[in-house]
C-alpha cells in the first residue's frame, strides 16, 4: 500500500483517524497484556475461579465495541460482555485495575469480591455484567434497550454471544423479543469454532450463524472477526441501523479461540493443524502489520503503546494483589434492599436460635 501523508485527525479508513486506529491498537494490546498478566497471577495462586482467555478474539471484541458511543455518566451505549470480551470492557471504560480486582475477588473490586471473572456491572459506563447461565443476557439486553427506546433515548446495546450460546432457549427468546420490539441491539456471534470442547457441527446444523437472522426477520451480516477494520465497519453499520430505529442486527464474527475454554482445558480435542492455521491469523498481529503497512502508525508509536500498556497493566496488577479480600461479615449485606439477613445464630456472642 502506498504511503500517504495525512493530517493527524483526518479519516484514513472506515472513517477512523490515525489517533483512533492507534487507540484501537491500544485496546487490543491492553486486553492481551492484561490477560497475560492475569495468567501469571493465576499460576501464582491469586485467582481462585476459572480463568478465561480471549486470545485470538481480541479483534472482534475491541472492533465491535469501538463502534459504540461510550459515556461515563450512564447516558451512553450499553454492552453485555462475556468472558472473552476483556477488550470490549476496556473500550467502554473498564480498567485493568477493576479487571484484576474482580478476578482476584478483592473487596475493592467492582462486585466487591462477590462474583467471578468479568461478572460485574457498571451502569455509568454502560456495562451490564453477565451471570453464568448462557442466554440470559440476550433477554436482559433486549429489555434494557426496550426501556431506552420507550423513553426516546437513542442509545444502542451490544451483546457478544458465543456460537454455543445460540443453542440456548434463553438466547432465542431474547433475540426474538428484541426483533419483535425492534430494540436497538447488535448481537455479535463470536463464531470461534468451539464451545468448550464441542465443535460447531455438534452445536448447529446451520451452515453459518448469520443464516439465523432471516428466521428472526432481522438484518444479518457476516464478517472476518480477525480483520479489525472490516469488523469495525460491519459493527458500525449495525450500530447505525439500531440507532436509526431499524432494530437488531445479527453480526457473525468469524474468529478462533486460540486457547482452551479455560485455563484448566488443555484443548487436546483440537486438531493441531487447525490451531496452527488459526495462530497465523492472530487479529492483533494482523492489525499491527496493517497499521505499519498503511503507515497508520510507526513502529515507534506502537512501541510506545506497548510501553504504556505494560506500565498500566503492571501497576494495576500490583495494586490488585496488594488489596485485601472483603470482610467476611459483608456477606450478609445487600441481599435485599430492605430485609436484613442476620448472621447465623451459632455465631452470635451467646448462641441462641431465638435471637437470630
Amino acid at each position: 500500500m502506498a504511503k500517504r501523508t495525512v493530517a493527524p485527525d483526518s479519516e484514513l479508513v472506515a472513517g477512523l483517524t490515525r489517533r483512533q486506529l492507534q487507540e484501537i491498537y491500544y485496546y487490543l494490546a491492553l486486553a492481551r497484556a492484561a490477560e497475560e498478566r492475569l495468567e501469571i497471577l493465576f499460576r501464582q495462586g491469586h485467582v481462585h475461579g476459572g480463568l478465561y482467555r480471549s486470545l485470538g478474539q481480541e479483534g472482534e471484541s475491541v472492533a465491535c465495541a469501538y463502534a459504540l458511543r461510550p459515556r461515563t455518566d450512564g447516558t451512553g451505549d450499553l454492552i453485555a460482555p462475556l468472558i472473552r470480551n476483556t477488550g470490549a470492557i476496556f473500550v467502554m471504560g473498564g480498567t485493568p485495575l477493576e479487571y484484576f480486582r474482580q478476578y482476584l475477588a478483592r473487596g475493592a473490586g467492582p462486585s466487591r469480591g462477590r462474583e467471578t471473572n468479568i461478572h460485574f456491572t457498571d451502569f455509568a459506563r454502560g456495562i451490564i455484567g453477565p451471570v453464568s447461565p448462557l442466554g440470559t443476557m440476550m433477554e436482559v439486553l433486549a429489555g434494557a434497550m426496550l426501556a431506552c427506546r420507550m423513553r426516546g433515548e437513542d442509545r444502542v446495546g451490544m451483546i457478544w454471544c458465543g456460537d454455543g450460546q445460540t443453542s440456548t432457549g434463553a438466547w432465542h427468546e431474547g433475540i426474538n423479543f428484541a426483533a419483535v420490539q425492534r430494540c436497538p441491539v447488535v448481537v455479535v456471534i463470536e463464531a470461534n469454532r468451539w464451545a468448550f470442547s464441542t465443535p460447531t457441527a455438534l452445536q448447529t446444523r446451520a451452515k453459518q450463524f448469520v443464516d439465523k437472522a432471516v428466521g428472526y426477520g432481522i438484518a444479518g451480516e457476516r464478517v472476518d472477526g480477525n480483520d479489525v477494520i472490516a469488523t469495525y465497519e460491519a459493527a458500525r453499520r449495525a450500530v447505525d441501523r439500531a440507532r436509526a430505529g431499524e432494530g437488531p442486527t445479527l453480526l457473525e464474527a468469524e474468529t478462533y479461540r486460540l486457547r482452551g475454554h479455560a485455563q484448566h482445558d488443555a484443548q487436546d480435542y483440537v486438531p493441531a493443524d487447525e490451531l496452527e492455521q488459526a495462530q497465523a491469523r492472530d487479529p492483533v498481529e494482523l492489525f499491527r502489520k496493517r497499521l505499519l503497512a498503511a503507515a497508520w502508525a510507526t513502529s515507534a508509536e506502537l512501541a510506545a503503546v506497548h510501553g504504556r500498556v505494560a506500565r498500566e497493566v503492571e501497576q494495576a496488577a500490583q495494586q490488585a494483589v496488594a488489596d485485601p479480600y472483603p470482610e467476611a461479615e459483608e456477606a450478609c449485606a445487600g441481599i435485599y434492599t430492605d430485609v436484613e439477613i442476620r448472621p447465623p445464630w451459632t455465631r452470635l456472642e451467646a448462641p441462641d436460635p431465638a435471637r437470630a
Binding site: R114, E115, F123, I128, M138, E139, A144, L146, G169, H172
Partner: protein, 348 residues
C-alpha cells in the same frame, strides 16, 4: 428521563372505577385498580405478558389498559416467559418498574432460570435493585388440570433476594400489589383464580391511596385455643372451619393470614403460638417441601417452649392437580380436613 409514551384515550376502563364510585370490588377488580393506579402514579410502571393488551389478559384483568396507557406500556409479548421476564429485568436495570403477567403462573417454569439466577441476585451482584413484579393466577379447584392449577411459592421460596406475596381478599390484594410495585426488590405475586370473581369476597375499598406493607401477616380471626397459619384461598376454608369449631366445639381459633410468604412474618407467627400453644398450618400447595416446614422450623427456633402439641399441617396430597372433579377434590385440602386436624390438636 425522557417522557413516556402516553395513552391514546383518556377514558378509564369501567372495572377500575368501582372504588371511585364507592362500589364494592371483587378480588380481581381490586388488583386491576391497584395496577391501574400505580401506572397512573408512576410513568416507569409498565406491563408485559401474553395477550395483556388488546385482549386484556386471559382473565381480563388489564382490560382497557392498553387503550388508556398506550400499547407501549401494555406490551403483548411473544410466547416466551423467560424472554419477557428477562427483558423486564433489563428494563428494571434502566430504571423502569415492569409488571410481568404470567397467563397462568404455571407458565413461570420456563422463566425459573432468569428469575432465580439473574433477577434474584441482581442487587447482591452489585448490579442494582430489581424493582419488578411477576404476577398471575394460581391455584386449583377450577377443573383445569395440572398445568393451570399450580401454586408456585415453593419454587421460589428458597431463593434469597425474592419476595413472595399471596393475598386472600380484595383489600389486601390492592394494597399488596401497590406495595409490590413500589418495592425495590423483585416480587412474585400470586392470585388465586378461585378468589378472582367470588361474589361474597367483594369489598368496598378506601378512596384514598393505601398500601399493605410486604412482610406483614394479618390476624384474620382472633382466638386463644389454636392458631391456624395459612394464606390465600385457604384463609377462607380456615375461617369456615373456625366458625364450625366455635359453634360445635366451643373452640376459639386464631387465624393468621400470612399475606407475604417471603419474607415470612416470623414475629406474628411466634406471637400467636405464644398465645395459643397449638399450631396448624394449612396450605393448598402439595405437602412435601411445602411452606409448612419452614414455619415449623421457625417455631422450633423461636417458640418451642410454648408448644403444647405437635405442629401439624393440612395440605394437598403429593400429586399434580388432576382434572376430574372427584380427583381434584380429593387431592386438595378441604374444610373437613381442617376441622379434623384442629379437633385433633385441640384435644392433644
Amino acid at each position: 428521563m425522557a417522557t413516556i409514551a402516553q395513552g391514546t384515550t383518556r377514558t378509564k376502563p369501567d372495572h377500575v372505577r368501582k372504588t371511585e364510585r364507592g362500589e364494592a370490588v371483587t378480588f380481581l377488580e381490586a388488583i386491576s385498580e391497584g395496577l391501574f393506579e400505580e401506572m397512573e402514579r408512576d410513568p416507569r410502571v409498565f406491563i408485559l405478558g401474553e395477550d395483556v393488551g388488546v385482549y386484556g389478559g386471559a382473565f381480563k384483568l388489564t382490560r382497557g389498559f392498553s387503550d388508556y396507557f398506550g400499547r407501549e406500556r401494555v406490551i403483548d409479548t411473544p410466547i416466551s416467559e423467560a424472554g419477557f421476564t428477562g427483558a423486564a429485568a433489563g428494563a428494571a436495570h434502566m430504571g423502569m418498574r415492569p409488571v410481568v403477567e404470567m397467563q397462568f403462573m404455571d407458565f413461570i417454569a420456563p422463566a425459573y432460570d432468569v428469575i432465580t439466577n439473574y433477577i434474584a441476585t441482581s442487587l447482591w451482584r452489585d448490579a442494582g435493585p430489581m424493582p419488578l413484579v411477576i404476577r398471575g393466577p394460581v391455584g386449583g379447584g377450577s377443573r383445569s388440570g395440572a398445568f393451570h392449577a399450580q401454586n408456585v411459592e415453593m419454587a421460589f421460596f428458597h431463593t434469597p433476594g425474592l419476595k413472595i406475596v399471596y393475598p386472600s381478599n380484595p383489600y389486601d390484594a390492592k394494597g399488596l400489589i401497590k406495595a409490590a410495585i413500589r418495592d425495590d426488590n423483585p416480587v412474585i405475586f400470586e392470585e388465586h383464580k378461585g378468589l378472582y370473581r367470588a361474589p361474597h369476597l367483594r369489598q368496598v375499598l378506601p378512596h384514598e391511596d393505601y398500601i399493605v406493607p410486604l412482610g406483614q401477616a394479618r390476624t384474620a380471626r382472633e382466638g386463644k385455643d389454636l392458631t391456624i397459619v395459612t394464606y390465600g384461598m385457604m384463609v377462607h376454608k380456615s375461617l369456615e372451619a373456625a366458625a364450625t369449631l366455635e359453634k360445635e366445639d366451643g373452640l376459639a381459633v386464631e387465624i393468621l393470614d400470612l399475606r407475604s410468604l417471603l419474607p415470612l412474618d416470623e414475629d406474628a407467627i411466634v406471637a400467636s403460638v405464644q398465645k395459643t400453644s397449638r399450631v396448624l398450618i394449612v396450605h393448598e400447595d402439595t405437602r412435601t417441601g411445602g411452606i409448612a416446614g419452614e414455619i415449623a422450623l421457625r417455631i422450633n427456633e423461636k417458640a418451642f417452649a410454648w408448644l403444647d402439641a405437635p405442629i401439624l399441617r393440612v395440605t394437598a396430597i403429593d400429586s399434580p392437580i388432576p382434572y376430574a372433579p372427584t380427583l381434584e377434590d380429593y387431592v386438595l385440602p378441604q374444610t373437613a380436613d381442617i376441622l379434623t386436624a384442629a379437633r385433633y390438636l385441640a384435644r392433644y
